[in-house]
Amino acid sequence: MTPILIAEQVLNGLQSGVMLFLMAAGLTLIFGVMGLINLAHGSLYMVGAFAAAATAAVTGSFVLALVAALAAAAAAGALVERLVIRRLYDRDHLDQVLATFALILIFSEGTRWIFGSFPLYLDIPEALSGPVTLPGGIQYPLYRLFIIGMGLVVAALLFWLIARTRLGIRIRAGENDREMIAALGVDIARLYTLVFALGAALAGLAGALVGAIQSVQVGMGEPVLILAFVVIVIGGIGSIEGALVGAILVGLTDTLGGIFLPQIFGLFMEPAAATQTGAALASMAIYVLMAAVLAWKPTGLFGAKS
């Protein structure tokens, strides 16, 4: 195991963490402001990826595809918020879980109905394809660096939005005291739709960015959704900082665990048994991480005390 390989794997962990952050940020924002648990967040990720693939197929432009992903996911988010989610804010978490579970069924089969059962094609744009050589001689795909960059830029924008803008002030106010901001004359209904659409757009962007290097298919959102849940539980629900730290922790644990655990077992086991045991444990590693964090801090790393 050379230092170069380790550095490359850390980059990989970072990249998957940054993508998770885009998912988790929306989830945690929606929970923080509206107190809503949204299982259908993964469906919005899928909507983004499908919109991007369909747009790229027609126009051939990756930039347009990203725009379409943002727009489609935001529109789907706003629509769902108006039609369904709005009725759930004053319900208990159980109703929210169930209604958004139902939305997953509708989104998944609806997408399959429109786009068919076969995976769609979405490729990396020409300008971003292929590897580049980083200092130290690391060969690394340019597109993955682009994803890390995009993710960090979006994270910075999000922090700026929340810390510095009027919308951000309202969001923070909404997290602290919902009745109060209504009393101050803020149009709560519009604020909620806006926040939900913003979260949806972030998920859609993640779906489109990842769709270019993965497979655009029905059901692609659910595995990411569950990882995003783990992220926000670790980070503390409602905390954007927590989501960022949690996402990078999970990304690194998942990536590095998958490589190093089999090798650690390889020190004292047969190679075949070691890879299997190591791989089995690696697939559980992030849940162990989560359990450890919760045993230490039951409301997550950055969570408010409940």
Binding site: F31, I37, V84, R87, D92, H93, L94, D95, V97, L98, A99, F101, A102, L103, I104, L105, I106, S108, E109, G110, R112, W113, E222, I226, F229, V230, I232, V233, I237, Q276, A279, A280, S283, M284, Y287, V288, M290, A291, L294, A295, P298, T299, G300, S306
Partner: protein
């Protein structure tokens, strides 16, 4: 008798009579469907204790369902393959006897519920939902990679396990067994809800501070409720595995957790017969909608949405009124 009680009795009676009629008319598949409904109802009755009485929204009950299933699969597969489970401290060859399998399923899932509960109950609300979900995923991935017992392929048991005095291979007899278990557990759940423990658990949901003030520990109440709940769902898992003569990691998947919860919501949260109504309706929907359209999940989703948004208190609440609607 309240309308809710009458409705419950009617549904339970219908669930018992339909398979009998099917048996007379020579429609064994209807019996299989009814058995499936009874077993899924049992799983939901288990969850309903944590959810309905204790207010613990567990999105990880598939963990216990799966553990119950694998208890059956592992015990029976050792007998099937003539490979003793362990030879020390005594020779144990596995088992194909349902009562023993049930006992193991209940004990192991109760133990799992205790361990998960100890950690998960440190939290509440959304954290609790997500932690239970994550534990379910942990078991799911573990069962996929655990090649000794089939991994993703699961375990096939060629012959249904036995119960003293019954021929379990006969659909109607196996149904009768599952139905009897369901009725007994329903009775137990009813008594539990009325017992001092059940009342205290319900009070711990509504106002934990007051419960604490009278000297009870809400956390401990919830933990006991969660363990009982997990044990019942585990028993249902063992029966479900025997119905299919097959176990696989799918039983651990989070969709399974979601579906068990769907039964309760469809029927009505915290209502004794809610899970029975919900499971029966779900099995019927799955059967008839699945026949009608390849995209039946869309219709199922829309129906669920409608129930959650417009029929609070579920189908039981819709018919029997909202005298006990959940808060």
């Amino acid at each position: 008798m309240s309308r809710e009680r009458i409705l419950g009795a009617v549904v339970l009676l219908a669930l018992g009579l339909v398979p009998l009629a099917a048996h007379v008319m020579g429609e064994p598949f209807t019996i299989t469907l009814a058995t499936r409904a009874a077993i899924l109802a049992l799983a939901a009755v288990g969850l309903n204790i944590a959810l309905g009485i204790g207010g613990l929204v567990s999105l990880g009950h598939a963990t216990f369902f799966g553990i119950g299933g694998y208890a059956m699969g592992i015990l029976a597969s050792h007998v099937q393959n003539y490979e003793p489970m362990f030879e020390w401290p005594f020779l144990f060859e596995g088992s194909t006897s349902m009562p023993f399998i049930w006992l193991v399923a209940v004990l192991v899932s109760a133990l799992a519920a205790l361990l998960i509960g100890l950690l998960a109950l440190r939290t509440s609300g959304v954290y609790f939902i997500m932690i239970t979900l994550a534990f379910g995923q942990m078991f799911y991935f573990f069962s996929i990679s655990w090649s000794a017992y089939g991994g993703e392929d699961g375990l096939s048991i060629y012959v249904r396990n036995g119960f003293p005095g019954l021929n379990t291979l006969d659909p109607i007899q196996f149904f009768g067994l599952c139905y009897a278990v369901l009725c007994l557990v329903l009775l137990g759940a009813h008594l539990l809800a009325r017992s001092p423990f059940g009342l205290a658990l319900g009070a711990a949901r509504q106002s934990p501070d007051r419960v604490q003030a009278v000297g009870l520990d809400p956390k401990r109440l919830r933990l006991v409720g969660f363990v009982i709940s997990g044990a019942i769902t585990g028993l249902a898992g063992a029966l479900f595995a025997d119905l299919n003569r097959f176990v696989s990691p799918t039983m651990f998947s989070w969709q399974t957790s979601g579906e068990i919860m769907v039964f309760i919501i469809l029927g009505g949260v915290g209502r004794l017969f809610g899970p029975v109504v919900g499971a029966a309706v779900f099995v019927m929907l799955e059967h008839f909608l699945g026949d009608m359209s390849e995209f039946w999940h869309i219709w199922l989703g829309l129906l669920l949405l409608a129930v959650v948004l417009f029929a609070r208190g579920g189908l039981v609440g819709l018919i029997a009124g909202r005298e006990k609607a959940h808060d």
